[in-house]
């Protein structure tokens, strides 16, 4: 399989090379490590400003959550029939974004996609931060989080001596999301160990050296260790691949296994996964472009990387568009009056505005990437990547709210309006996400040093061969 991939995959042509500029191993180390080694007092002011803003947004979220728990879900706009609204929308949105990281590091690794090396570290970091944001909602959307916190876990409990209901997709979710979070963290850390060792060995001052000595677990990079390392990494990639596919499938079960028209659809698992990758890559793109520019990583994150990501955005975006079309077709073809109504209501009902926002952002936008000119234009891809994420948020909103607000009995139909608490909470999650990302960029190597060196070695080797012939 791997070999096939190598043969047939055009992405493998290392021309233009994936690592550009006059690069040797040491310069790679330098470029990636030096930003993390700037002493705090020399840290650029813009970083302090940035984290000042994001962390205060994070603090605001803390206050809003306190208010929510103290007063009740009633402070949101949720109602009967719309029991879930922005809470679960945000949850699915962030989980979706969390898919790119593992996908890049696991699936692309299995397919021997060398170009992944420059982006997988930060993509994985984003996965973790996105999952952290997502994890807020399953807990805090409950009416009694102080109970949900441990009643959702299979712990022997004396309260009622009751166990979980393993027929419930929500319990599957708990397992899927927590597993995904944990595995992503392990995967990320394993990848980080050799680079932490690098930082340790470059460290000048004592404290820093001690910190990284402990963090890197005393990694020495001996051949004996590398051989286990590679095997373990391969295994992690191997199990993460079905995992990343399973997570959003299981999230989609929350809806697919229900009886609500617009939710009860077998197409959901693949459709959700595609959507997740779609939004994930868009988010990686947005942040990469900023990081690349701010941290001067143009030589490591090259146009080729960006273009490849855009190609994936184009593919997954088209899959999502196809899914929308299929939904409509099946709704009509099934002859089920309720299904039909739900989809007609989505497109022309009270929430038509949301539906058409979703369609124009997710289906039309990515089509621009058919053109190489647009695909390789930084400003274009920056704007589009943001548009895509707006669209994907609306996709979740449309699926959840429009299906609920008008289901079987017209007597129970209603309408949902968000409150200031809904909005602040959503903004707050970005505070958490960006704060973590800023800390990551400041203190850890944003690019997998050892892996890039591996690629570089291959380039040099090829050059060497060519020279020989």
């Amino acid at each position: 399989m791997a070999d096939l991939a190598i043969k047939h995959n055009p992405l493998l042509e290392t021309n233009p090379p994936l690592v550009q500029g006059p690069q040797d191993y040491n310069s790679v180390t330098e470029v990636v490590s030096s930003p993390t080694e700037i002493p705090l007092n020399k840290t650029p002011l813009r970083w302090y400003i940035a984290i000042g803003i994001t962390s205060s947004i994070l603090g605001m979220m803390g206050l809003v959550l306190t208010y929510l728990v103290a007063t009740g879900i009633g402070v949101w706009g949720n109602n009967r029939p719309v029991g879930w609204a922005w809470d679960i929308t945000n949850f699915v949105f962030w989980i979706g974004i969390g898919h790119a990281g593992t996908l890049i590091s696991a699936i692309l690794f299995l397919f021997r996609q060398k170009w992944r090396t420059s982006i997988n570290r930060s993509a994985e970091a984003m996965t973790l931060f996105a999952v952290a944001c997502a994890a807020i909602f399953p807990l805090f959307h409950t009416g009694r989080p102080w109970r949900a916190a441990y009643w959702l876990l299979p712990l022997p409990n004396t309260d009622l001596n009751m166990w979980q209901n393993f027929r419930s997709p929500l319990i599957w979710d708990v397992f899927a999301v927590s597993t995904y979070g944990t595995v992503s963290l392990l995967f990320w850390f394993v990848g980080l160990v050799p680079d932490l060792a690098t930082l340790r060995d470059r460290a000048v001052d004592n404290v820093r050296k001690k910190i990284f000595a402990v963090a890197s677990l005393g990694w020495r990079g001996t051949a004996k260790a590398w051989r286990h390392y590679e095997a373990a990494y391969l295994i992690l990639a191997g199990i993460s691949t079905p995992l990343v596919l399973s997570v959003h499938s299981i999230v989609s079960f929350d809806f697919a296994t229900s009886v609500i028209p617009g939710w009860h659809t077998t197409i959901f698992p693949p459709y959700f996964v595609a959507g997740a990758v779609f939004s994930g890559f868009a988010m990686v793109m947005t942040l990469m472009l900023i990081a690349r520019w701010v941290m001067k990583l143009e030589n490591l994150i090259t146009m080729k990387h960006l273009e490849n990501m855009n190609k994936i955005i184009l593919v997954t975006g088209s899959i999502v568009g196809y899914a929308y079309a299929t939904e409509f077709f099946i709704a009509w073809y099934s002859g089920n009056a309720y299904e039909r109504f739900t989809f007609i209501n989505r497109a022309f009902g009270p929430y038509a505005w949301a539906y058409w926002t979703m369609v124009s952002c997710n289906v039309i936008t990515p089509q621009f990437f058919w053109f190489k000119k647009l695909r390789t234009s930084i400003p274009v891809m920056f704007v589009l990547s943001i548009v895509v994420n707006i669209g994907m948020w609306f996709e979740r909103f449309v699926i959840i709210v429009t299906s609920l607000h008008r289901d079987y009995l017209p007597s129970s139909w209603g309408y949902f309006r968000p409150t200031w608490v809904d909005i602040c909470l959503f903004i707050g999650t970005f505070g958490l996400f960006l704060t973590l990302f800023l800390l990551f960029c400041r203190f850890l190597p944003v690019i997998a040093i050892s892996e890039v060196k591996g690629v570089l070695a291959q380039q040099r080797h090829q050059a060497h061969e060519e020279a020989a012939h």
Binding site: I73, R80, P81, G83, W163, Q164, S411
Partner: protein
Amino acid sequence: MNLISITNTKQNGAPVLGDVTGKSYWRSLNQLADTADFKQWVTREFSSTATDLLDGNSRRTVLKLMAASFGLAGLTACRPVAHILPNTKGVEDYIPGAATFYSTAMPMNGVVNGLLVETHDGRPTKIEGNPDHPMSLGAANSFAQASVLGLYDPDRSKVVLEAGKESTFEKFEAALKAANLADGSGLRFVTLANASPTFTWLKSQVLAKYPKAGFIEYEPISHDAMREGAEMAFGTGVAIHKQLDKAKIIVSLDYDFLGLDALSIMLTKLFSKGRKLAEESEEEGEHAAAEHKDEKTENKKVEHAAEHAAEKAAEMNRLYSVETNYSLTGGMADHRLRLKPSEIVTFARDLAAKLGAVPGLNVMQPATDKRGKFLDALAKDLKAHSGECIVMAGPKQPAIVHALAHSINASLGNIGKTAIAWASTKGEVSPLDAMRTLAGEINSGKVQALMILGGNPVYTAPADLNFADAIKKVPLSVHLGLDADETAMAAKWHIPEAHYLESWGDGRAVDGTATIQQPLIEAMYGGKSAIEMLALVAGTKDQRGYDLVRTYWSGQLPGKDTTAKDQAWREALHSGVIPGTKTAESKATLDGKSVGAQVAKIADGKGFEIAFYPSSQAYDGRFANNGWLQELPDPMTKLVWGNALLISPKYAKDQGLADGDMVTVSKGNLKLDVAVMTQPGHADGCGSIALGFGRTVCGRVGKGVGFNAYAIRTTNDFWSGDGFTITKTAGKHVHATTQEHGLMEGRPVVREAKIDDYKKTPKIIEEMNEVPLLKSIYEDLKYDKGNQWGMSIDLNSCTGCNACVVACQSENNIPIVGKEQVLKGREMHWLRMDRYYTGDENDPQVVTQALPCLQCENAPCENVCPVAATNHSPEGLNDMAYNRCVGTRYCANNCPVKVRHFNFLNWHKTTEEVQKMSFNPNVTVRMRGIMEKCTYCVQRIQETKIQIKAEARAAGKEIRAIKDGEIKTACQQTCPADAIVFGNINDPNSQVAKLKKHERNYALLAELNIKPRTTYLAKLRNPNPELG
């Protein structure tokens, strides 16, 4: 709270025996009462954190809480045990925590409804109808159901007020003595219409002392036109009793006899008898008689049910309704004609003319439009059913319409068959005229003492009398009322009135049957009753309610010696009716001339017309501070927390008006700013507005809710009037409704068929479902052991009267949420009443559907709960474990009928101590953040089981099976139409099992394979073939 009522019981001196029991009762509590624990728990139980404690705590806590509530009940309620008797067999035997039922009566609008009141540890908690009472026949309407909340209303007036300042009853007595009333020519009494023999007796006592004193029975929702009409038609005082069960054709001339009428419970019962398909009523009969019948013959019978249905169905009655606003009666009608108020009068005239009911009268309007066709077809139909039809006019119609109705009935030979005449005292001057004179007398300074015993005339009196100013001119004005309301503020003296559940009294049903109204709890604020006030004025030797009633009836009750009389008295209290008090039937002969003379005076209406109608929530305003009623959706508009000027969609379009637009309705110098709302099926060119809103001096619940229609209600335009001008003004008003969408979108939600089509193909109901059935990948569970509870709701009988909704609220401690939250769609009613329009928007038909939890066997809600908080009981109930719920709301999302209700906020935050006394101790009060839903009144099921176990243990026999009909859910028990049947579907002989085998039986959303235990019987219409 508890402290107050202790002192009260001391002050008023509870009856001797009562005191003794009270004391002994105390002793039994001593140990508990002294511990610090107890005090702590008392406060805890009645603090908003109570539910926290109940949640996830040990059994011991719960027991403590129970103990506390039991103790508190002892503190708060000290019932005079000696004098009143439970409706249960044998002598009262007090078991802490066990419910006891007492019969009493609720006086309202000149009649009393016999009730059974459930009390827990001396606290009345639930109102039921008294089956032995001729007017309630075991049912209670929403007002009666909600009155228990009124008893515990924290805003009730608690102290005597003198010119708005706190005073004492002694001071008042002094003031009364001081007033020189002489022969009483300056003494006037304004009371509500009442039918209390004791009151009448005391009235005579007062007149004996003050011969020139005057009594006025002013009722804002008056039935005077009915009496006047009868007198006009028959020349004498006659009351016409409608035997609806005997009528095949029923015509209602603006008579909402299924909805907002004092007699609606009785009339609904009678009407639905004629609406039930024959073989069903048979089954009812049989099932009562035959307990053990071998199944074979049963099943055979059921197989033939269809044919039965077909042939017997023809016997279903046919209802024609002519009205302005859409009423429940109009909703049930097979044919409905919408007319302006003035047009109804002319319609009655023309109908009479067509039938030749009034000599020398001919039809004035040609038979071209819908009205004409309707008139012809109706006349034919009536003629064809002479002697087995009835024409009824509503209290909102002028006397002449009643007279015409009577003439028609007479001419068709219905009198004595479907319309039975009862002798009745010929009324003196009509209350409205009396009020006019009173106002005059006051203004001319003739009145020195005005005693307003109940009611709120300052708010309800016709605007042109300007009563608010008038009353200030009276030297000694006294107001006896439950609330310190508008009148209390205007009057010199205000005396807190005792709630009917707190005071002794009596009253007659429409057929004259008398009932003793016995108190269920000692007057919490030492209030007085109207008879006690009369006694005070008359200076009789007895002053306390009990003595007064007892004295009067000892004269009336049969029995030669006191012991016999005591026995009769005890029986009267026990059963809730006094035998032999029924009015005799009498002859009534029509006096055609006087009717003819009056007909001549009929004039056509001009300009915009306004019709007033009693609110289904506040009635005439007396229930404005009752949260249950304020949040009870109006049966038609589904409006809560307010009223509106209802207009037809067409008129709205013509005038460029939309829902919520503010308009000014004015006539002369009177004007009213009100928000409009379109009501499909409302007559064009006129508007209807509910009375009872816009209270200015009222408790926290009702103050400033809605618009005060009394502002434009005058003695001339008392029920309706023409020549109003309506002008759109700036500003919008937000109406809160519980149902935003009124159309079924072609879905088979409420299944309805014309009776003839159903006759031809009984399968028609089943075939209405188009969507293919889903299949389960698992094999279905068998529910064939023991009791398997199920319910059947007959949409053909259900009128949508809402009684069940309030009954459920009262039984299950369902909170109210307020207008803001209703607007967000967070109302909590476990049982909701859906209303759908079918057909043309301007003139649609209406169907209603009572929707509790369907208790699905394959419940979608259960599958998705991550913590298994909702799951199935072996008896097929879809249970909620409140204290396991974490509140994901996933179950509510996955409920296809959306009957699960989430506690979005702590709805009990503002619940006061005294309100908590109305809680049903057998039902958990749910905390914030958890889901709740209909439980099939599981507490009642368990109560019965425990009872049976106890009996069996006592008798040393083995536990017997539960009899069919032994357990009644709250909604079933109170349904005036007997539309709800609950029972064990596992027992083929049970009524519910039989109904489910019926051709009309269908399961809502069966296509989802949810297997609901609650199923529906489709609605049938019985249209006149000529009108199609």
